[in-house]
Every structure is written in structure tokens, then in C-alpha cells.
């Protein structure tokens, strides 16, 4: 009779991982999840666990791992503080639609609800920031719960799922099973765009004189790289990418216009205001993109393509709504679109780009942050993954770097989580061990998670950290300068010696204080086989432009103060592939 093996709950979790193709876990052990660690050696090296130094970083690392690998990311935390430390990482994954499976140990069943030592109701806490969450009270439910967790996390609009398992349930034995198909009658993420809407969209495109595509994260998630490009080239439409949409469309493509919104290119914001058709693909008309919503794209009809029905009509009323996986929708749409000559529109855009070259690095002896980021681009030519934190450096990394490698920009968009830059670089490097990973860090953000340098040194991940060290919480300082009467409060930083910090963690530390040193340290970092930290001591009070002041409309964008110099990269003249 005993052909089927009895497994412990912890072994069941592992077996589920194997069936889901999981080979990487980031986590921290503790009393409640110890059974999960106890079985790790049995499954090594099929499943590798990386010990991080704070659970928030386990979640961020798994998040970035998922972005780069295209597989679900997995993180572990113990009950109570271990689980609550995961919360920021889970929220980050939720906002950016990342398939993350967080497995937490819970106090033993008998203690649940009695304020047991290290008890936190993590399922309850994470309800608003997960796609789904479950407390598994019976060992026989573990295979089902795990299978559902991966299914939910990785299908439809991806998102994080939390599975909380009490320690005693992890230790009990039961029979493992695995179903051919997940049955979830309430889960209905699959839809196909209505052919009538597709036809209407094609018609709108044909009628349009001044169309723009705004391509979002959904294009990257569904890997519609070829399809978005086909739409742009075939119909002759310029492409704007949202922050999370960056690297969904080639950065040096003649039809590429860069980012829109709060720190977007001036020409883009004006183009959206002028446009008669906005085609939003796999994006959600976030407030950082739209500016003051009621004045967003006042002359435009909108085509909205997204997989999430709750996004359709949430912020804007589309004239055509293509609900479903954007790759599939684009394929159908591309069959119907025809090329149209829109020379006047391209001339207008061209003119706008010449008159308002939003990306200018002005001539100065000071070391400008934009110069540093542009130098990393020059040194790598974009053949690397770029991970960022949140703030000015993040915006400059979006503006002064051209992403020709698909899905090569890893950033915290929706939640805007400072500290993401360090653990996300770890996840990206684990997912792409043969690629170079550059982490462009804020000095403030770096100090939120820099304990992970110990993890990086331990595993030898050859990440290149570029700290854009302005001795300030730069973006907040900019807001204080511009919108709070220059009342500088709690934004200057008294930083440690980052080179010594690196050395203390057994990592090569380099420094550049002057422009002339930049190229050399970048080169040295790229030659170095291991992890490197470069402290770029940049100008303290450089502001990030263009900027749409909070509450303003896109056409009220403040452009770069006019500098007489040439832009960092003159946009190539727009040309459209012959249809």
C-alpha cells in the first residue's frame, strides 16, 4: 500500500517548489520556519537558499529575481518580526505586479490567536497588499495551497501571494499530491480582447493624425517586445515608455521618445497634451504619468490595453478597451493596422525635441550626477542590468541611459521603495549570473539596506554599486527647495566613508570626486571580477528636471533650465520603417 511516500509539511513545500521550477529562495530562519530549513540540505543543490540579513531584502531580492528571470520569486521569513519585515517587500511586489511567493512560518496551531511568542497575523496584515494569502492549518492542504499560490502569482496580472504555515503543520506528515489543473472557481484572470474593440482600435489608429503609444510594464511582463515594436513600426507611431515600461522598447530606436510624466521628457508631456490618440499598452495611467488627471491628454481619444479589468476605466475613459494579455491583443491589432504618413506630427515632435532638449548635461567642473550615469551608459553601452533605488538618481537613470537590452531596467515604481537598490541587485544578479549588474544607488537608499553587502561578499556576487552620493535625501531636498520655500529640514546626510564601509564588508571600494576620475573608476569596476562599490561624490544640490510640479498638468512641465550645451544624446532623427 505504501507506494506513496508520506512527507512532512516542510518536505511538501520543497516538492511543490520542484514542480514549480523554483531553485532559488531568499530568506532568514527562525523558530517558526525552522522545519523549512531543516529539509534544505535534502534538496540542495536543486534548491538553493540565500541567507540575507533582513527579510525586507529577501522579498526585494526575490522580487528582482522574478523580474529578471521571468519566474516566480520565493522568499522566507519566520513568524512575527520575520513576517512583518517582509511586508515592505510584499507591498512593493504588489504595486509593481511581481509574482512573489512568500512562505512564512507561523507559531504552532495551539498558540494562534493567543499572542504566542513571535505571533503576528501576517495573513491579515498582508490582505491589502497581496493578490492572495492563506494560513494553512492542515498539512494535507499544503500541496493545494502551494500549487494555487504559484498559479495565482504567475497568471493574469501577476502579484504576490503569501502562504503562512504554523510550525507544527510543517512538521506533521501527510501524503503529497499534485493536481494536473488548478481549480479556482473565483479566479478568472483570463480574457481575450473583444474583436469589435480591436477593430475599433485599428480604426482609431487609422484616423489619428497625432498618435502616441505609452508602453508600460505589462509589455515587459507579457514579453510583447516584438509586438509593440511591430505596432509602432507598422503603423508609424512614436513610443513613450512609463518608468516600469522602460526596456520594453529599444532605447535607441528612432521611434523611441523616452519617459513621460513627473520627470519625463518635456517633449513627451507636450506630445501627450497635443496628441489626438493615446494608446496605453500594459499601463495604468498612474498619477505620476498623467499629472493632473482632468487635464491629461485633453485632445486625445484613448485606447487602453490591459489584462486587469479593474484598470479599465479607473483613471481614464477609453474609446476602445482591449482587455487581456497585451501580447495577444497586440498580435490581433497588428493584423489590422495600416501604415499612415504622419509627417507633420513627426516634424512637430522633432521640433519639440530640438527646442527642449530635456536631457542636457551642462558644462561645469563640478561632478554632476547625470554625468556619472551617462558615463556608465557610455562604458557599458547598455549591455547590463541597471537596478536603482528611489529618488533623483532613479529618475536620472531613467533619463540618461538607453536601454537596448530587453527588460534590463529594474526599479521600484509603484511603491517607490528606497533601499530597493541593494537587495534588488542581488536578485537580478542571481537570476542573470553571467550578466553585469549595475546598481545605481542613492546615498540615502543605500543606507537603508547596506547590511546586505555582507550577503554579497559572502556569495561573491560581482555587482557594481554606483552610489550617487549627494550627501542628501536628494529628491526630498529638491521638493523642499522648490515647493517648501527652500526650508531644508531633515534631508542633509552625514554619510559614512563608503569606501571604508565597502572594505569593512570585504568589498572593493572606489571613489570619484572629479569628472576626470569617473571613466577610470567605472573601468576599474568593470575589470574587477568581484563586487565593487564606487562612491561618486557628486554635486550636493543638483535638481532633477524636467518636472511636473505636484498637482500640475503635463503641459505645465518645467523644463530643464535652458543650457546652451548639446544634449547628452541627440535624439536620432525620427524615421519610420517603410510599411
Amino acid at each position: 500500500m505504501e507506494t506513496k511516500q508520506e512527507l512532512t509539511g516542510a518536505q511538501m513545500v520543497m516538492e511543490a517548489f520542484i514542480r514549480e521550477g523554483v531553485d532559488t529562495i531568499f530568506g532568514v530562519p527562525g523558530g517558526a520556519n525552522l522545519p523549512l530549513y531543516d529539509v534544505l540540505p535534502e534538496y540542495y543543490p536543486r534548491i538553493k537558499h540565500y541567507l540575507v540579513k533582513h527579510e525586507q531584502c529577501a522579498a526585494h531580492a526575490a522580487d528582482a529575481y522574478a523580474r529578471v528571470s521571468g519566474k516566480a520569486g520565493v522568499c522566507y521569513g519566520t513568524s512575527g518580526p520575520g513576517a512583518t519585515n517582509l511586508v515592505t517587500g510584499i507591498a512593493n511586489a504588489y504595486m509593481d505586479s511581481i509574482p512573489l511567493v512568500a512562505v512564512t512560518g507561523q507559531v504552532i496551531s495551539a498558540l494562534i490567536g493567543r499572542d504566542g511568542f513571535q505571533e503576528a497575523d501576517i495573513q491579515g496584515i498582508t490582505i491589502p497588499i497581496t493578490k492572495h494569502s492563506e494560513l494553512v492549518r492542515d498539512v494535507n492542504e499544503i500541496p493545494r495551497a502551494m500549487q494555487e499560490a504559484f498559479f495565482i502569482a504567475t497568471t493574469g496580472r501577476p502579484g504576490p501571494v503569501l502562504v503562512d504555515i504554523p510550525r507544527d503543520v510543517l512538521q506533521q506528515k501527510g501524503e503529497f499530491y499534485w493536481r494536473d489543473k488548478v481549480e479556482l472557481r473565483g479566479y478568472k484572470p483570463f480574457s481575450q480582447a473583444d474583436p469589435n474593440e480591436i477593430a475599433r482600435a485599428a480604426e482609431l489608429i487609422e484616423q489619428s493624425q497625432r498618435p502616441v503609444i505609452i508602453s508600460g510594464h505589462g509589455v515587459i511582463i507579457s514579453q510583447a517586445f516584438a509586438e509593440i515594436r511591430e505596432l509602432a513600426e507598422k503603423a508609424g507611431i512614436p513610443v513613450i515608455t512609463t518608468l516600469l515600461g522602460i526596456s520594453g522598447f529599444p532605447g535607441t530606436h528612432p521611434l523611441y521618445l523616452g519617459m513621460p510624466g513627473m520627470h519625463g521628457m518635456y517633449w513627451n508631456n507636450l506630445a501627450i497634451a497635443e496628441s489626438d490618440l493615446v494608446i496605453g499598452v500594459g499601463m495604468r495611467f498612474d498619477d505620476r504619468v498623467t499629472g493632473r488627471l482632468k487635464d491629461f491628454a485633453p485632445r486625445a481619444k484613448i485606447i487602453h490595453m490591459d489584462i486587469d479589468p479593474a484598470e479599465i476605466g479607473k483613471n481614464v475613459r477609453p474609446a476602445a478597451a482591449l482587455l487581456g494579455d497585451v501580447k495577444a491583443s497586440l498580435k490581433e491589432l497588428n493584423k489590422l493596422v495600416v501604415h499612415k504618413d504622419r509627417t507633420p506630427w513627426f516634424n512637430w515632435l522633432e521640433d519639440m525635441r530640438r527646442k527642449h532638449p530635456s536631457i542636457v548635461i551642462r558644462e561645469t567642473d563640478e561632478l554632476l550626477p547625470q554625468y556619472v550615469i551617462n558615463s556608465i551608459y557610455e562604458a557599458t553601452k547598455g549591455d547590463c542590468y541597471v537596478v536603482t533605488g528611489v529618488g533623483q538618481h532613479q529618475m536620472w537613470a531613467a533619463q540618461y541611459f538607453w536601454y537596448d537590452k530587453p527588460n534590463s531596467f529594474v526599479t521600484s515604481g509603484g511603491l517607490g521603495t528606497m533601499g530597493f537598490e541593494v537587495p534588488a541587485a542581488m536578485g537580478a544578479q542571481v537570476a542573470a549570473p553571467n550578466d553585469t549588474v549595475w546598481s545605481i544607488c542613492g546615498d540615502g537608499g543605500f543606507m537603508m539596506t547596506m547590511q546586505e553587502l555582507a550577503t554579497i561578499a559572502e556569495y561573491g556576487w560581482p555587482i557594481k554599486f554606483a552610489i550617487i552620493n549627494n550627501n542628501n535625501l536628494g529628491m526630498v531636498r529638491q521638493w523642499q527647495e522648490l515647493f517648501y520655500g527652500n526650508n531644508i529640514v531633515a534631508t542633509p546626510l552625514k554619510n559614512p566613508d563608503f569606501v571604508k564601509v565597502a572594505e569593512a564588508f570585504h568589498i572593493l571600494g572606489l571613489r570619484a570626486e572629479r569628472k576626470e576620475e569617473v571613466a577610470a573608476v567605472i573601468d576599474q569596476a568593470m575589470q574587477h571580477p568581484g563586487p565593487v562599490l564606487i562612491d561618486f561624490q557628486v554635486k550636493h544640490d543638483e535638481n532633477c528636471y524636467p518636472m511636473v510640479p505636484p498637482g500640475a498638468a503635463l503641459h505645465e512641465t518645467i523644463d530643464q533650465p535652458a543650457y546652451a550645451q548639446t544634449p547628452a544624446r541627440l535624439p536620432a532623427p525620427m524615421e519610420v520603417a517603410a510599411s
Partner: protein, 188 residues
């Protein structure tokens, strides 16, 4: 009841949900996040095993549609729909405990009869009556009884369904869908 408050109308929303712990919490969390007040909520087993049916009345502006879509995305919500503008029957039940004396008891029983309400319990100095109907009827009854001392009032909140043979939550036959998973490596 907030009929007539400017811009805000009560919506009647019915949902078919998994009968599992945490479902109510998840649903309530979405309403709370958007600042909608749940005026009443009734839950019980449905005709389908393992599924409960809920009727919500929420004070909401026109944005209720967005929250309904959000709720529909919850894994535990099998189906949900706003039936405020449909042809529905809606009822609620109230239990009302009133202090009585020899003089008032028969008057209260008369009122109850007028409203087709049942008398459930009679004690020397109290009486419990049960009334079923739409909110206006219950409101009218409660109003009349205010002449006496209402010791306790409990109302179930609205339960509702579509008129006629239509099923409120048609259960589409499960088609075999192509499940697009979060994909692997990347190329242009």
C-alpha cells in the same frame, strides 16, 4: 438611511463567495480602503455547496463600479454584481423587543398585525415581534413603535435577488483556457 444625500446612493451588491475564513475580511478591506461605509451586510449559504451568498448595501458614489471590479478580482469571490439598477426583490427582517404593560400590549399586537408581523415572545412586561419586508415597511413599523419603549432592535439588513427566472450569478461553463504563465527569458 442615506437616500437623498447628495451624490451618494446606497448600492445593492450581491456576491457569491467561497465559504472560507478570511473572505469577509478581504472584502471589507477593499470597501474600507476606498472609504465606503457598509450600511448592511447579510451572509448565508447559497444553493451551491461551499459557496455563500452575500448582499451588501453600501453608501457609494459612482465609483462603486471600480470597487466591484476590485472585489471581483479576489480569488474567493466567484461572482459579484451591482443590482441597484435592476429589477429586484429585496427584503429584510427585524426583531423588535418592546416594553409592555397591560394597557400597551394589545395596542402593540394590533400594530404588529397591521404589518403582518409575528409575535414571537410575550412576557409580563415585554414582547418580541418579527417583521419582514422592505426597508420602508420596517422603518414605518419602527416609527410607529417609537410611541412605546423599544428595548432592543435588530435588523438583518437587505437580502436581494433578481426578479423572474434569471440567475443572479450565472456560472459559466468552465472552458479550457490557455494559461499564460509569467514567462521565461527575454528577447526583442
Amino acid at each position: 438611511m442615506s437616500d437623498g444625500t447628495s451624490g451618494i446612493r446606497p448600492h445593492t451588491i450581491i456576491a457569491l463567495v467561497e465559504d472560507r475564513p478570511g473572505v469577509l475580511n478581504r472584502i471589507a478591506s477593499k470597501w474600507r480602503q476606498r472609504g465606503f461605509n457598509i450600511e448592511s451586510l447579510a451572509v448565508g449559504h447559497s444553493e451551491k455547496p461551499g459557496l455563500s451568498r452575500m448582499t451588501f448595501v453600501v453608501d457609494a458614489d459612482t465609483n462603486a463600479e471600480q470597487v466591484v471590479k476590485q472585489l471581483d478580482k479576489l480569488v474567493d469571490v466567484v461572482d459579484i454584481r451591482d443590482i441597484s439598477h435592476e429589477d429586484i426583490v429585496a427584503r429584510e427582517m427585524a426583531l423588535i423587543k418592546i416594553r409592555t404593560d397591560r394597557g400597551s400590549r394589545s395596542q402593540i399586537i394590533d400594530i404588529a398585525e397591521l404589518f403582518h408581523a409575528d409575535v414571537l415572545d410575550v412576557e409580563p412586561d415585554s414582547i418580541i415581534i418579527e417583521a419582514t419586508g422592505d426597508e420602508q415597511k420596517i422603518n414605518a413599523l419602527v416609527n410607529l413603535l417609537k410611541d412605546y419603549e423599544i428595548i432592543e432592535l435588530v435588523r438583518t439588513g437587505r437580502v436581494a435577488m433578481l426578479r423572474g427566472p434569471a440567475v443572479s450569478h450565472p456560472h459559466p461553463e468552465e472552458e479550457d483556457q490557455q494559461y499564460e504563465r509569467y514567462p521565461g527569458p527575454h528577447t526583442w
